[in-house]
Subunit: 65 residues, 2 copies
Amino acid sequence: MCEANAYLKKGEEQELFMEQVDVIEPFEEGLRLVDIFGRQKLIKAKIKDMNLLNHRITLVQLPEK
Amino acid sequence: MCEANAYLKKGEEQELFMEQVDVIEPFEEGLRLVDIFGRQKLIKAKIKDMNLLNHRITLVQLPEK
């Protein structure tokens, strides 16, 4: 399976935000992530980078307005 | 392998921009894409959405300033 894990960058650290992510799409001012089981999470963030062969996506939080 | 194909959204159409993409990361005002063979392409675009089980990433071009 080709899902990836989404990590949220916090300063120099990265914490696991969601595992086995299939879909990422824009949602309001942030992103909607859906995993392979259809569970979803919303986050006010953007995609920083990804490495698909490593199954890794890095998100960064967007600043509050 | 878990690479994906990157499509560029142009109006209602999407054209194939790069196949077998492994890495996507920020580069200057746009993105740098690297395929599984290490070839790279630069594009002034952002990631719109992705569907990893379908191996599909959609990019949208950024407006010229």
